[in-house]
Symmetry: C2
Subunit: 267 residues, 2 copies
């Protein structure tokens, strides 16, 4: 049974696709068979990143690990109920196929509450929610009292995860491991980071997620997009000159992988 | 006729809601009547920001300018065609109502290609597209050749704007002013910023947008969210201690407003 990892957060630009790409790279380099599903069917940021990688390999003649892909199409049926039924069939079929050959299936969700995204959240063994170090992003997890900073109640994305957990329990699946990480953190902004950190620490036990080490704002996480590369590929492509920021980026990725405690993955 | 400003970018987390909130604040302080429509019907980040503002005013007894709101609901009809027809009626009704009392109507779009978002893009007199200083964000405007950096062709969001322009022309409306700004820029990353800047400069004449000054990554743009405040409100609430970053932030907002060249707005 492949272990299903979902990158989910309805908040846009929280780092789902970026984290997804780097997780795929890290798992492949740990020797695992990885399947990738891009549920952002319009933007397809993950598959674009992977297309760029494929083009780089073809152009430069350098071998790089590439995941197997699961491709899903949007139903064109006019009735919502019919469209849902068709997409549920597609989703199950793709998961079954990838399950045959993969140790891990990594699913990148869009920043929206689509039918496929809801299916992915119910199918996830590990749900990774990256977020900006921001009370605006936090607002999609829970509402805070402006005066006291206390958690007032869950917001729309947390409620969605709760529903997915319910579906999972009804289907008799093992519990979802929900992890939240902060992304694009800057060293400056210590006060804001403490406010967000405190809010997350208070919220975590209430809606059942654990907080794992995340990523700093580092241009290395995005400047290799056109070539489809990640920092883990730099040695293979002969750009192994790891400066301070890249070494730190490697460590951040390693710390995340360790904290995820994935089955049979030694870090 | 109220001038309609739309914040649009299918790419999530590009700064639509943040730019929207600060533009509303700036226009109100320039003495204009402002209407606000939040088309992110699930996250409602803009209306949450405004709700927090309203709660602050009630709690602290400090008067602050608040825009008029236009509220839209998602159609629950099962057929796509029926849902579209109902939503088109809702949209026109809300615009007509706000038009009576507002100089400007500001519309915040979600990071997705929804029916209401498409209507907003066709209705926009000014379309503001904020984006991260990133080739990943750029990828939603156009594809670049990885080797040469040349623009290969428009991507999904640029095509959406083109379709909106077509609808506008057929309806006999004046041309859309499409402006693109970079958001969350960091002083470090000069090389990456130059790459994105060059790509934007090459693309601008081809798909007909102009580039305007944007915003740096500054915690002042997000740390006041819980109280619904912007940096323009700090003097009114007695926190007028403008440090270097806040003064620079003010100037960035002023520079944007000037570059927008809005009717009857002196900056
Ligand atoms: N740690 C990081 N350092 C630097 N840039 C980053 C980092 N993480 C993400 N980015 C950049 O931030 C932007 C948003 O990231 P990304 O596209 O991964 O988010 P997303 O959650 O997948 O967005 P969407 O909701 O649109 O799918 C992109 O421009 C990306 O290149
Ligand atoms: N100039 C800035 N400086 C600091 N933080 C910023 C800035 N602009 C935006 N942010 C933060 O970046 C994140 C994304 O911004 P925002 O929510 O405005 O984007 P959006 O395009 O409306 O996203 P969505 O696609 O989810 O609607 C938020 O956490 C916000 O607080
Ligand atoms: Mg994405
Ligand atoms: Mg928004």
């Amino acid at each position: 049974m492949a272990h299903i990892i979902v990158l989910g957060n309805e908040k846009g630009g929280s780092g789902k696709s970026t984290t997804c790409m780097h997780l795929i790279a890290a798992l492949q380099r740990a020797g695992k068979g990885v399947g990738a599903i891009d549920l952002d069917l319009r933007q397809t940021s993950l598959f674009r990143y992977l297309d760029n990688r494929r083009a780089f390999v073809a152009r430069e003649g350098i071998a790089l690990p590439e995941p197997e892909r699961g491709v899903l199409a949007l139903s064109t049926r006019d009735s919502q109920a019919d469209a849902l039924a068709e997409e549920e069939e597609n989703f199950a079929a793709v998961l079954n196929r990838l399950d045959q050959s993969c140790d891990f299936i990594v699913i990148d969700c869009p920043g929206a509450h689509t039918r496929y995204a809801r299916m992915a959240h119910a199918a996830a063994d590990t749900l990774i929610t990256p977020m900006n170090d921001s009370l605006v992003d936090f607002d999609l997890l829970a509402r805070l009292d402006p005066a006291s900073g206390d958690v007032l109640g869950p917001s729309v994305y947390a409620e969605g995860v709760w529903k997915a957990r319910q579906m999972r329990m009804k289907a008799g699946l093992k519990p979802l491991d929900w992890v939240v990480l902060r992304n694009r953190m800057a060293h400056v902004n210590a006060h804001n980071r403490a406010r967000v950190g405190d809010a997350l620490t208070e919220l975590a036990p209430r809606i059942q997620f654990r907080i794992v080490p995340g990523f700093s704002e580092r241009v290395i996480f995005r400047e290799l997009f056109l070539n489809g590369l990640t920092l883990l590929d730099l040695r293979d492509v002969g750009q192994g000159s790891l400066n301070m920021s890249n070494l730190a980026a490697r460590q951040e990725l390693r710390d995340l992988l360790r904290a995820l405690s994935l089955p049979n993955v030694k870090v």
